[in-house]
Structures are given as structure tokens and as C-alpha cells.
């Protein structure tokens, strides 16, 4: 005898601890298996693209902090590069090094949050997240030392950074690097080698290589599917060509691979930091020719960076004014959700939660 079950619609979110913000997913389930998934977005839509059209190029830096609020430095980095491209502004050597140091610290901080909350989604309540918060705190302290802000840094400017590093920054960073490396080894032992964790994540939510490229996935989500595509290597911006580092890729494209790619990327970021700390030159930290407002000539520019979540790009159109005519954000969190339906179909509800967690979305960037 077979028992027929009726499909049931479950409303997952928008207020739910596992949605990483105000994300709503309407799941249709047959028993416990997901047969349809529909996203409902916009609970955090603030109209940043419209607001930015009314503001100047300099004022808009503060908006970028608030997109992906876990990686403000990377967002600053992408945006100031777009303005520099638009207005043709040169950047001094020291500023480039400071930017790379900040971007890589931010990558570690963002990945720590991603891994900690992901482990929480899988069911490891409490401890791992608290450990990772502890380490992220040290990075935020470094940010505070450099620019006075911990979360919404607003540190970079077209032509450089807003202020020089304080003298105690580099010694503190030198102490941080070996400590962080030891912690990462500990995490791999504690978390990634955990048998229950492996059973929960291996083979779950596979994103095939072809679909990942076609659906525009980027960042760790794309690389976990086996595509070696990292803009730091493949479209070298700033001074990334001076550093020696590897791009970790996954083989299967499941949740476990996405986790491991993030863990390994933290190690590679530490390698970059080591080299940057060794080589950082003295000199000016901002182009002295950039003072006050920037009048960019009419035209358009697209600049991107490899942010912690993926390819973060800014497309600016200028009409010669003091602000942008059109301000478009290519947000990786939003576009990485394109294949969410394919990834969740056929999995149980508990798996749908960890699949969403493994994509690592931040609603500030999805909804903008």
C-alpha cells in the first residue's frame, strides 16, 4: 500500500534566524522533500541606486559600506576603483598596499562569519560561531585602529585612503597573522573533520559547473563547483600581481566544498597579508591632487573586485556632474541566488537551510 501525501506550502522567513537577514523563501514540500521554492525579496530594499544619483561621488562611499555590511572595505575598494577609472585618478603605491591589506583582512572576517553561521545552520549551535566571532573581533579592532570604524569603515577615497595607518598597526598585524593561521588549523580539525558535519554537507546542494557559469555565480560558490575563476588572478587589479597566492577550487560543488574553499581562501589571504606587510613602502597615502569634489568627465566605467561573496562591480555613468548619472551595483549575493531553486529541489527542508547558508548571502547587498 502506498500513502499519498498532499503538498504543503511552508513559509520560511522573512524573520528566521537561518535566513541571514530578512530573506523569505516559500517552499512547497511533499512530505519533507522540497518540490518548489520561490524567493520573495525586498524587505531590506533601501533604493541605494536611486539615492546615489542625488549625491556626489564622495558621499556615495558611505552607501557602499552599507551594502554588504560584513565586507565594507571590499565594497569601498570596488567603488573607488570605478570612480578612479571614470575620472582618471592615479593611486600612490602605499595606498594600494593599504587597500590590499584591508581587503584581505575583510575577506577573512567575512568568511569567518560565513563559516560560523553555516555551522550553526548545520546544527553546531554556539561554540564555533563564538570562536569565529572572537577572531573576527581582532580584525575589527585593526580596522578601528586604522580608521576609527569597525563595521561601516568608509576608509577608502578615490586616489587613496582617508588617513595613514597608525604606527602601531603593522606590529599588531604581524602578531595577528600567525595567531590566525593557528586558529584556522584548529577550525579545520574541529569542524571540517567532524563526521556529522561531513555527512550533513557532502553531496548536498550540488551546483554543477556548467550551471554555475551560466547562472552567473561568482566567488566561492563558483570556485567550489570547480571553476578556477578569481578576479585577483584572472583580471588582476590594483597590485595583486605582486603577490604569490593560490586559488582554491572544489571538485563536486556541494556545501562541503563551498565551506572548504572559504577556509582555504582565509589561508591564502594570510599569505597575501604576510607579503604585503613585508613590502609596504612609505610615502603618501592619498593622491595629493584629489581635493574635495570630483567632477568626472562624461562617460561610463565598470570596475570590479573579487569580494568575499564574489564579483562585486560598480557601473557608473557620468554626465560631467559632481555625482553619477546612473549608479549600478553588480551584487554577487543577489546573482548567486539565481540557481537556488535547482540546488534546493529534491532536498529535505533541513537541507534547504544549509544550502542557503552555504551560498553566504547578506541581505543588505541582495536588496540594496
Amino acid at each position: 500500500m502506498t500513502l499519498e501525501t498532499q503538498p504543503v506550502v511552508i513559509n520560511f522567513g522573512p524573520q528566521h534566524p537561518s535566513t541571514h537577514g530578512v530573506f523569505r523563501l516559500v517552499l512547497t514540500v511533499d512530505g519533507e522533500v522540497v518540490i518548489d521554492a520561490k524567493m520573495v525579496l525586498g524587505y531590506l530594499h533601501r533604493g541605494v541606486e536611486k539615492l546615489a544619483e542625488e549625491k556626489t561621488h564622495i558621499q556615495n562611499i558611505t552607501f557602499t559600506d552599507r551594502l554588504d555590511y560584513l565586507s565594507a572595505m571590499s565594497n569601498n575598494f570596488a567603488y573607488v576603483q570605478a570612480v578612479e577609472k571614470l575620472a582618471g585618478i592615479a593611486v600612490p603605491e602605499r595606498a594600494e598596499y593599504i587597500r590590499v591589506i584591508m581587503a584581505e583582512l575583510q575577506r577573512i572576517a567575512s568568511h569567518l562569519m560565513a563559516m560560523g553561521t553555516f555551522y550553526q545552520d548545520v546544527g553546531g549551535w554556539g561554540s564555533p560561531l563564538m570562536y569565529m566571532f572572537r577572531d573576527r573581533e581582532k580584525i575589527l579592532d585593526l580596522f578601528e585602529m586604522a580608521c576609527g570604524q569597525r563595521l561601516t569603515c568608509n576608509y577608502m577615497r578615490p586616489g587613496g585612503v582617508s588617513m595613514d595607518l597608525p604606527p602601531e598597526f603593522i606590529p599588531e598585524l604581524k602578531k595577528f597573522i600567525p595567531a590566525m593561521r593557528a586558529y584556522l588549523d584548529e577550525y579545520e580539525e574541529l569542524i571540517a573533520e567532524n563526521e556529522i558535519f561531513k555527512v550533513r554537507t557532502r553531496g548536498v546542494g550540488i551546483l554543477p559547473k556548467e550551471l554555475a557559469i551560466d547562472a552567473g555565480a561568482s566567488g566561492p560558490v563558483l570556485r567550489a563547483s570547480g571553476v578556477r575563476w578569481d578576479l585577483r588572478k584572472d583580471d588582476t587589479y590594483s597590485i595583486y600581481d605582486r603577490f604569490d597566492f593560490d586559488v582554491p577550487v572544489g571538485t563536486v560543488g556541494d556545501c562541503y566544498d563551498r565551506f572548504m574553499v572559504r577556509l582555504e581562501e582565509c589561508r591564502q589571504s594570510l599569505r597575501i597579508l604576510e607579503q604585503a606587510v613585508r613590502d609596504i613602502p612609505g610615502g603618501p597615502w592619498i593622491n595629493p591632487g584629489v581635493r574635495g569634489n570630483i567632477w568626472a568627465p562624461p562617460g561610463e566605467a565598470y570596475a570590479h573586485v573579487e569580494g568575499p561573496k564574489g564579483e562585486l562591480g560598480f557601473y557608473l555613468v557620468s554626465d560631467g556632474g559632481v555625482g553619477p548619472y546612473r549608479f549600478k551595483i553588480r551584487s554577487p549575493s543577489y546573482i548567486n541566488l539565481t540557481a537556488l531553486k535547482e540546488m534546493t529541489l529534491g532536498w529535505k527542508v533541513a537541507d534547504a537551510i544549509i544550502i542557503l547558508g552555504s551560498i553566504d548571502i547578506v541581505m543588505g547587498e541582495v536588496d540594496r
Binding site: G42, G47, K50, A215, D235, D241, E300, H304, G313, Y334
Partner: protein, 166 residues
């Protein structure tokens, strides 16, 4: 260390003219602008032709050139060849805003076209599920248009004050 180089547009236009004649309207070293009706053909050609192989659609967006037309901007990248191209197309004016959808060519367009529809009011013909993604369904107007005026929603009138207790 490699860089994504912008592809020589003159070369792409030569190949396009042979395969999809009459599709290209204008081109500069920075971008190629094609006819609206031929957009899907051009996109399919750019994706599948050996030597071009634009397999990765980075970004879809629209710019409102008030009061003339809307311009659609597509940023394409080829992962195997490390080159990029900016493809553009225009609507005839600000009233006729139906644009063919590119979801059939690149899945990446799916969510991005929803965003353009929601905020700029461009209708993508052939999109599997065109709906408001960020704003609520009853929302009137398209905020990213330059002539958008915020609709002031009147506050409900205060209720009659309750009669004092005897």
C-alpha cells in the same frame, strides 16, 4: 598574471555582419550597439561562436536617457579567452519599452532582468516569470526612471476621540 582584455569591437562587428546581417547599429572601441529586434540572435551568436564564446553574463542594467530612450547595457565576459565586451541596445522611445529577454541564452539574466523590470520598468518579453522582485506588487511607478516622482501616501485620518467616560 592575466587581465580580461576588452575585445576589438571592429573584429566582432565584422563577424556579426556575416552571421546576423544588419544587426549592428553603431560601434565604438568601448561597446557595440545592436538593433532591439536582433538582440537574441546576436546574444546567441556571441555565446556559441568559437573564438568569441562569451559564456558569462556579468551584468544586466538599463540607463534612462531622459527624455529620449532607455539604454540596456550587457557586460559579457568569456572565461576561456579572457576577453570582455559591452553590448548595448536602445528602446525606440520611453513608451515602447518591450525588450526581448536573454534568459534563454544566459540564465544569469533571470534575476537581473527582474530587477531592471522592477526599478526601471523595462518589460522583458519571454521572461519565465516577470514580477516585482524588490517592491511590493501594488507599487506604482518605476523609481529609477528620471521622471519618477514619489507618490505621497496620505496618512489615515485619526479616529474620532473616544467619548470621555461618564
Amino acid at each position: 598574471m592575466t587581465r580580461i582584455v576588452p575585445l576589438d569591437t571592429a573584429r566582432v562587428v565584422r563577424e556579426l555582419e556575416a552571421a546576423v546581417p544588419g544587426a549592428v547599429v553603431e560601434y565604438t572601441p568601448d561597446y557595440i550597439r545592436v538593433k532591439l529586434e536582433r538582440l537574441v540572435e546576436v546574444a546567441g551568436f556571441l555565446k556559441t561562436t568559437p573564438g568569441l564564446e562569451f559564456n558569462y553574463l556579468v551584468s544586466v542594467t538599463a540607463v534612462d536617457y531622459y527624455p529620449y530612450y532607455f539604454e540596456l547595457v550587457y557586460h559579457l565576459v568569456s572565461m576561456p579567452h579572457h576577453h570582455s565586451l559591452v553590448l548595448k541596445t536602445r528602446t525606440p522611445d520611453r513608451e515602447r519599452v518591450v525588450v526581448p529577454s536573454l534568459v534563454g541564452v544566459w540564465r544569469s539574466a533571470e534575476l537581473q532582468e527582474l530587477e531592471v523590470y522592477d526599478l526601471m520598468g523595462i518589460v522583458f518579453a519571454g521572461h519565465p516569470e516577470l514580477r516585482r522582485i524588490f517592491l511590493w506588487d501594488e507599487f506604482r511607478g518605476y523609481p529609477l526612471r528620471k521622471d519618477y516622482v514619489e507618490e505621497l501616501i496620505p496618512l489615515p485620518l485619526p479616529a474620532e476621540p473616544a467619548a470621555p467616560l461618564e
